[in-house]
Amino acid sequence: MLNILAQPPTDAIPTPDVAWSGLMPLLILSGGAVLLLTIVSLAKDFIPRWFTPIYTVLIGIATGVAAIPLWLRVTDTPSAADPNNGPFATLDSSFGVDGFSVFFTMLFAAVVVLVALLANDYLRREDIDGPEFYVLMMLSASGGIVMASANDLIVMFLGLEILSIAVYVMAAMHSRRIESQEAGMKYFVLGALSSAVFLYGIALTYGATGSTNLVEIREFLSNVILLNDALLLAGFALLLVGFGFKVAAVPFHSWTPDVYQGAPTPVVGFMASAVKAAAFAGMLRVFWLTFGSYRTDWQPVIYGLAIATLLVGSFVAIVQTDVKRMLAYSSISHAGYLLVGVQAATNEGTATVLFYLAAYAFMVIGSFTVITLATGPGDAKTSLTDIAGLARTRPVLGIALTVFLLGQAGVPFTSGFFAKFYVISAAADANSYGLAIVAMLAAVVAAFLYLRIMMAIWLDGDEVADPTELAAAKAGIPVPWGAAVVLVVTVGFTLVFGLWPEPMIEMARDAVPALAIG
């Protein structure tokens, strides 16, 4: 008896090797989220309210720190001493760990920390405090990590859904505001549709190539000449629609203004930074890395999308009067610039996208931090006239917002300048001079939007010039410590990398994606 039990089963289900070290950041973040949920459900009454935000910040920092040794490992070249250096994959080649994915992991960790700090005060102010927001945000960010690391289309889809579903709920989080519910609903219905389209794209690509694994698809595409590639191209198109929706590329952008306007402001900051970054990570992984040999087929499409996105984003923004809506259109036009970098389809182009995403994430979180503080309780006062004179009543917020707006406009001495410059240089390098010119002209049109907001906060609002009202306004919205930290970090990031972008550019260049088998 004992002998029989001691014998190994002959037809056991094979389980893939797991390189736990490579999964560490993801496990910390997602595990941290689930653990938080467990703790607060079991010990709701014993948890002080400061615990949740602090916990989230610490988890975010831990995720980032766990990514550092990985970064050092994957960006190094294998040597005799460390044969394991360089990109690797795990979980049966479905989860890749390369400079690219670790870069995004660190970016998401930073976003989690910043948004948690910002949300702390916001949730209390709106009286919707609770651990749900933090749990959902961490889960959503871990979905982003999965997308940036996916080596398999199914894993990519899993990441996309983890990312999205949490954000749908977050958008509707401010349950007493009908606009927030509307935003959540709109985002969910359209998002679910786009996910379905994406899934269909995966199915068609699988049909055309016989695999969902990116490594195998790439091998197949470079070794096999398809006599009829209609199925494959249809798959490309549907996948692109799915990504295009998430990055808010025209013509899949129509949800953006409504959702940005209605959703709670810190959530918008998260959407504009993390969700956009995750979707671009997925797009680069699938299109540039996997479908690279078919770039002549998809490049023109992205070229067209980029032009449409740039033009619609910058021109339609002109007529808006709501600040959150304005920034929604601005985020659309930023997606256009990022597409310019994607369209270049070079390693250099990919590096420009990474640099841009990092610079933009900090600027946009900073902007929405100011908006959160300036618009006051209820998220309702977001029109341009509501924030008029902000720079005079609250100089600190005014100056910070000015820095972010100038950064987004691409004015020198901000990281936004080099972000724009760098994607344009990628376009020029790829000989897409037409696209480069359109992008630069769109920047001029978009500058009008940022100048309008700047003029409103600096020059308008004479009606609050009355000293007593001024004092009241000053007392009305103090800068809470969490938001203050966010502002210092984001302003610092924007200015330092505006003067000396070298370290960040180096990092973005080291973060080249690689498809490893493992």
């Binding site: 344009i424 020029a428 001079y433």
Partner: protein
Amino acid sequence: MEFDNNWLLSVMTFVPLVGAAIVMAIPKAEEELIKWAALITSLVAAGLGVFLLTDFNYDNAGELQYVADAQWISVINSRYIIGVDGIALPMIALTLLVVPLCIIYTMGHFPEPRNPKALLSLILILETGMLGTFIAQDLILFFVFFEVVLLPMFFMIAVWGGDDRRYASLKFFLYTMFGSALMLVSFLAMYFLADGTIVGDEANTFSMIALSDGATVGIARTSQLWIFAGMFVGFGVKVPMFPFHTWLPDAHTQAPTVGSVILAAVLLKLGTYGFIRIAIPMLPEAAAAWAPFIGLLAVIGIIYGALGCLAQTDMKRLIAFSSVAHMGFVMLGISTLTDFGINAAVFGMVAHGLITGMLFFIAGSVKDRYHTLDMARLGGLLISAPRMGWILGFCAMASLGLPGLAGFWGEFPAILASYNPAAILPEATFRGYMVVAALGTVLAAGYLLWMLQKTAMGTPKDEFVDNPEITDVKTYEWIAWAPLLALILALGLYPKPLFSTTDDAVVKSLQVNVMDDVPDCLNLDTDQGEACFDDLREQFEAAG
């Protein structure tokens, strides 16, 4: 005195920025302290400028001096390269002179809504931007400084401007940004297409030295033409050249006095300086192809600006339109592609900076006293405020190009140069331009004398008789104006020092200097000239 001067330019450029930071750190209530801190900062910078002027090696003005070359963004091979030669030196001196004078002027009379702290720090930031543009020898560095100038000026117009300030400031910002957008694409195109290895740099380089020395010689003619077109829009908006000029009257009219002065004295020069420093030396072939067109727009600008002046009722707007005309002469000089014409252009830039800056000062002072610049209501300045009236007369004479004053040496040689443009250019066309430009000087005399008659002559209107506000030139105005007036006269009587400073550098900027043999393609007939450039390209390709 012998010491490592590499940091002289950097210190000079960034002192104002440090001063701006200090000014911002001083509490708002300490108004006097703020004013003195700003003034002292600008004087320190000017002091360094005086040292630069004395220490500069004029025998070697064609070469860049005080060169510093440090790493900045090595991944795109953009470096912190700075240096000064005979073309940049007068521009730097002009900037360093005008800014302290503007600060003195503001100290005497603050435009509404006051806030000296903000206005003075903006002026100082502006100074850093302007100086940086003139010392930069790397295209990205140049571009960054070129753009930095925009923001302080935008805020100056938007906050301290006239009734229509928003429109004017937005128009100024967006117009200039539109130009620089295309310029940046051109810079990038040059970065990727030029080959710096010809002159011993890295293949892709933003170094203006390498690009002017012939790294661009291998770029195909069509590409050169397009790249030049992008730069043409960028610099042309800033100049401003005829079709792109419409932001200028609005910006000038709405800007506060010091804003107008800085705009006229220095900011417009950034555009013409860009042509002389970047567009022509780097792309001589394209410059030759574009020159007739530039010359055409220049003369249109001369005539259009003059006619525009005659249609104005507002004194400040008239002076603004006269800038369009004067910059037309500068551009005409540049478009001849001869050392004679470009020397005249640089002289014209300095002269226009002094004279038009001075005219805007006077317009500002008139506005302070009369609270209007409507020429139908002004009049009799010579009676109400005789000294100011005479100064206005003096400046109007200088502006219309009276021999013996600085304006003459900017206009007359430019006209003369277009009689004899570079051989590669169509001679007959340029002679036609010369005739039209000469007509322009007549019109200039017309509108300036007309302005003088409307404002200075006659008797004061009833509403302004015995108005206690209308006083003669005040002390702070004397201090701010005297150096400009003296220079207008001095340069008019003895222009040689300025011409001899710029000459070597101008001659060098027109040389197509590759592989040690110096073919002077610009000085061959049109067909031969083009063949010469083609030949160069082939030689370069053969050499690999």
